[in-house]
């Protein structure tokens, strides 16, 4: 419209040249601008699409929210959801210890196991000991010698040690501060402190071991030593010596689950190191709460019943 008005005012030949130049310039400018704008938009759209594709790729690491000191936060109430406490190796179903009293209650469910790569690499003597542990797992401790050498410590409400505490069928809570990570387990109200940024020495051996931790990227790596040799790995009698060294790895995988790995080294019992792994799930219900399971009172008749007044 505007061009037609200009057409009406200028002398014919000058107008033609001037008009030609002006229109071409305008058209070129507009073309260039339009193409540049379209390219910029296309670039933005494509890069966003590309970013979305990358974020959904399963191999990409999850970046957990940070604590104030910049570390991935493991704070919260967590629980394993597996059958490892029955038997960490692959196993079929089985009866409870007293089927005539309990029926199907407390019968054992089957599981593929949490141990990576085949049967546990016991030495021949240690394998015999494991089988003896299982056969005598519910022997009542009618003497101090029996109490100290025989029977599943879980039945006595003894602290489960590491790694068994992690996969007891009860929650645990992680409290993460810069200097230490405190983990409290509902079973037997067992606690352990993981020291970060310093390496104090264990004053003595203990039931929950001595834990020194450090961060590797998104993973908390914990070295556990000095654990008393009276804890078991499960109800199947899998055991260790006082030479046990556990290397745990806690890696956040999403907002509501971690991957837990534990490498076991014990040259007095096993011919080589071996590893277990399992997810740990956050307890997400409203008002999820750590509630003590102080089970000593439930173990007393089992342990001391033979000492009652007649």
């Amino acid at each position: 419209m505007r061009d037609r008005l200009i057409v009406a005012r200028l002398p014919p030949l000058c107008y033609t040249v001037a008009r030609l130049r002006e229109v071409r310039r305008t058209r070129r400018r507009f073309t260039v601008l339009t193409i540049a704008f379209a390219a910029a938009v296309a670039g933005a759209v494509l890069s966003q699409a590309a970013a979305r594709v990358v974020a959904q790729a399963p191999a990409a690491a999850y970046r957990a929210p940070r604590t104030p000191d910049g570390k991935p936060s493991l704070n919260g109430i967590w629980q394993a959801m597996n059958e490892a406490n029955w038997d960490i190796e692959a196993h079929g179903t089985g009866p409870s210890p007293y089927p005539e009293l309990l029926g199907a209650l407390f019968a054992q469910p089957a599981a593929q196991g949490v141990v990576e790569g085949g049967p546990l690499p016991y030495t021949p003597e240690a394998l015999a000991k494991k089988k003896e542990n299982f056969a005598k797992r519910l022997t009542r401790p009618t003497s101090r010698e029996l109490n100290e050498t025989t029977g599943d410590p879980e039945a006595k409400c003894y602290m489960p040690g590491v790694p068994r505490a992690t996969y007891m069928p009860m929650p645990f809570q992680i409290v993460q501060t810069p200097q230490q990570v405190l983990i409290a387990y509902e079973f037997a109200n067992a606690t352990r402190e993981i020291h970060i940024g310093r390496k104090p020495e264990a004053p003595a051996e203990s039931w929950m071991g001595w834990s020194i931790g450090h961060w590797e990227g998104e993973t908390l790596v914990v070295d556990v030593t000095d654990q008393i040799d009276r804890t078991w790995f499960d109800r199947a009698g899998n055991f260790h010596s006082s030479a046990l060294h556990v290397i745990e790895r806690y890696t956040p995988m999403s907002a509501d689950h971690l991957m837990y790995e534990a490498t076991i080294e014990d040259p007095k019992v096993f011919t080589r190191p071996w590893k277990m792994s399992m997810p740990l799930y956050r307890r997400v219900e409203k008002n999820a709460l750590f509630i003590d399971f102080k089970c000593v009172e439930y173990a007393q008749e089992f342990m001391y019943g033979h000492l009652l007044s007649k």
Partner: protein, 357 residues
Amino acid sequence: MAIFSASDERRFMPWRVWIAAISVVALATVPLAGQSSGKPAPASVAKPVKSVNVVKKTPWGDPDLQGVYTFSTLTPLQRPDALAAKVALTEAELAEQEERDAENRVAEDRPLAPGNPGTYNNFWTSNEKGRRTGRSSLIIDPQDGRRPPLTPQAQKLRDQLTDEAAARRVGTPPFDHVIYRSWKDLPAYTQCVSRPMPRQSQAYNHGLQILQVPGYVVIHYESMHDVRFIPLDGRPHLPDNIRLWNGDSRGHWEGNTLVVDWTNFDPRQEYEGAPQGNMHFVERFTRVDAKTIDYEVTVDDPTTWTKSWKFLLPWRADDPNYQKPEDLYEYACHEGNYRQMEDALNGSRVLEHAAGK
């Protein structure tokens, strides 16, 4: 004559318009920079509130009570009769109290009379100067520094239990003994079931740690490796039918003081000689200085005491034995208790046999 007619313009314009239009539509699908797709933007961390007193705060703005402490003290819970109306002790009196304590500890190591098996001596106790509060009692209310009287029902219950235990006593003093029919005749602490809360003075393993994370204050006690999780989010207490040896705690801040409401105790636990099932405590934790937390507890149980009472016990970070988290040792009470239970119960069986019971 125009070289380019209006119709030429119409032929050239539309494709530019189309590209512009498509670009505008495409732009609408691109999320703004800084927002990850699908998730809301994270809330910013609350900045610490600057108070006039410049109280230490955690990075998320709660008063910072964190540290490793001991609660051991020379001050008794109740004011001794001899001190009657005296609330505070003079320097001279405090020095005399410490001297007497030192003499007692030396006496504990003297050779024992024949037949006396002995008891805890100096080896077991963790003692050092600076454990005095400067007061004659931990109890600050009532004014006389002593617990209020028992209610009639509580007195009746106590008399019943005393009579019942006396009926199980054999032998002649000073070597008379109460017979334990089962583990239940021993205090819950001796059974390593649970040690009474709130924790007051003890001879050893009296360390603890306060840790804080957003939404919780956590107290880790060395003794019994107990952990109390104190939620700060205003949630209700557990239902009344859930009774726990360490009760159920709910906390909130009043200024710089953590106030904790503590209920749901197991009625089989005894505190200050009375069953704990109806007890209700309100704790107040206030940081006094870099090394001290004032720990004040109001004790309320109308079925046991005629009125509520209050004690004040400082938690101190100046004990050389309790400076770092690793100074809290594992207290494997039950794991190490088999022999004691066996000896105590076997001993009672021997006494029963000797007494012809």
